[in-house]
Symmetry: C2
Subunit: 356 residues, 2 copies
Amino acid sequence: MERKKINSPAFFIGKGQGDDLISFGSGQPDLPPPKEVFEALNNYQCFKYCLVQGSQKLRDALSTKYEDTTPEQFVITNGASEALDLVLRALYVKGGKVAIPRPYYYSYPHNVRLAHLEVVYYDLVDGKIDIENFKAQAEGCVAVIINSPSNPTGTVQNKETLKACQKFCEEKGVLVISDNVYKDLFYTDENYCVQGPNVITIDSFSKSYSMCGFRVGYLHSWDGDLVEKIVEMKSHTSMNTSIMSQEAAYAAATKVPQGFLDETLKIWRERRNTFYQGMLDLGLDVWNPEGAFYLFPKIKNPSKACNDLYYDYNIITYDGTWFGDDTRLRFSYALDVEKIEIGLKRLKEYLKTIED
Amino acid sequence: MERKKINSPAFFIGKGQGDDLISFGSGQPDLPPPKEVFEALNNYQCFKYCLVQGSQKLRDALSTKYEDTTPEQFVITNGASEALDLVLRALYVKGGKVAIPRPYYYSYPHNVRLAHLEVVYYDLVDGKIDIENFKAQAEGCVAVIINSPSNPTGTVQNKETLKACQKFCEEKGVLVISDNVYKDLFYTDENYCVQGPNVITIDSFSKSYSMCGFRVGYLHSWDGDLVEKIVEMKSHTSMNTSIMSQEAAYAAATKVPQGFLDETLKIWRERRNTFYQGMLDLGLDVWNPEGAFYLFPKIKNPSKACNDLYYDYNIITYDGTWFGDDTRLRFSYALDVEKIEIGLKRLKEYLKTIED
């Protein structure tokens, strides 16, 4: 195989199906969506534009899930990605800055810059927010992004820290954009979602209901003017989110029993346990994921490791450098325990070659 | 009814169904999509991310429809709106200008400004491009937008003019963004789509196949670097376009016989004829639409007319001011001939009240 250097996750798109490749790459759940999602599409017959803000019934359903909210505070978007893009574009001011965690979800710096804003970073310590560093970086920003459970670290921030972040931002007039796409996937006792009048919540049906390809996300804000500005913007940049995808999301929001999420979480937890223990057994320096579905071990020269593991060991991993950490490698465990075990064996062979 | 002043098309969204209101407002075809579109969704089972650029088979199908093109030159987007948004954002340079026709599709100035570019206008004369004015405005721009058949004017630009525009822009290094969403809806002998190495084509399944709510559009460019830049950008701003909507669009592109478009066009032509003749009979100064489905007559004080027609005559029309023309009113004829005739009677009553 010709060894073309791997520069971004895009390199791996479409790879890893139907062959001996083990993909720890994409953040795409392998488990299928609940059956109710597909059932909603049988005999589907609508075709007209719907409200740019999103279908009334889907926003009604969401407002019952978020305390004290109203449907008018939600906007349905083409995934959490578009929600973040719209929010940042709506918050644009000349010279404005947005603070993001580091390591970060790899799109964040791009999203901020695509909105013509400037990126600043608050550095996580072992995947956790350091409140003093957070404050130092957040001050003077238009907004900060918080992501818990986190991609790529797999950490869950603790409630007290999140409350302190929110309070600080509220006092300083900084908006908090809370990216909650992994909110249903946590192995800790609790997962606190940051709340408050200055908080804009972003979420999606992609990870909880395995609906990535459907592209249905949403945002919530208490600020009616901001919501109006975002809807107006979306009427020019994409109009309504696909009506069929919204119908599928409505089924997920209203017809799927909680048991589906519980069962799914059980599977994720089993994989997490196997993979984490396997990495410990290999002597890797890695923290036990508290949420999402990523392991983020330290590894010598992750760019080289990512390339070598792919070309020589038939394993896809994501270089930590893409997430702002050049000491680690990201492994997604969105695949069977058996495949995780095969992958661990190959990883063991690789690790032997880089021992001091 | 309380007379809240009507400021934009958004005012009318969700109005005009199931009551005595006659809506000449929205550019939403009332005719249903071909049955093949819905059939494609029965037993649909996919759920994963697909290529951000768009599904391979849909791009394959498109490349067979556009001469000499390859699938790699297309990007599938959330409607033509997102295609335009992505193209403009990708073309951003500090201080860059984009020329758009005036009257314009009402999103164009917003799209240009949302991409942090500056708008300049080339003025249409009776809905037609004036080549000298076009050249004067286009020179020095990053790009120009051409829209033929045009919303809101209903005009089709002639082939020689379009070739002259393209050639001028090619010589001057200006990109031509050709918004072809109405390309299948024309009543002239021919509809020429502007072509050339400097042309970026934008199109959609919305108008031709009555699939507005599905949100599937696309762009084509000969410039591989630009396509790559757009796909990279879309990987951060929305990821793939809804996989289900793409499946529906694939059915439209490959399974629907040409007869569907011919039959649809026959209906549009009949409506056009009735409505145009009706307006002439009312003594309105209006040109005969050559394409799309809009009539754009002159009217005294169109902002007042739009309000009065809605509140006093139960007719939705769009104020020409929203499209950059404060002397005209836009009427969409995306509704039955019988309703058009009722609307004409009401319009007649209104016109009596504003006679000199």
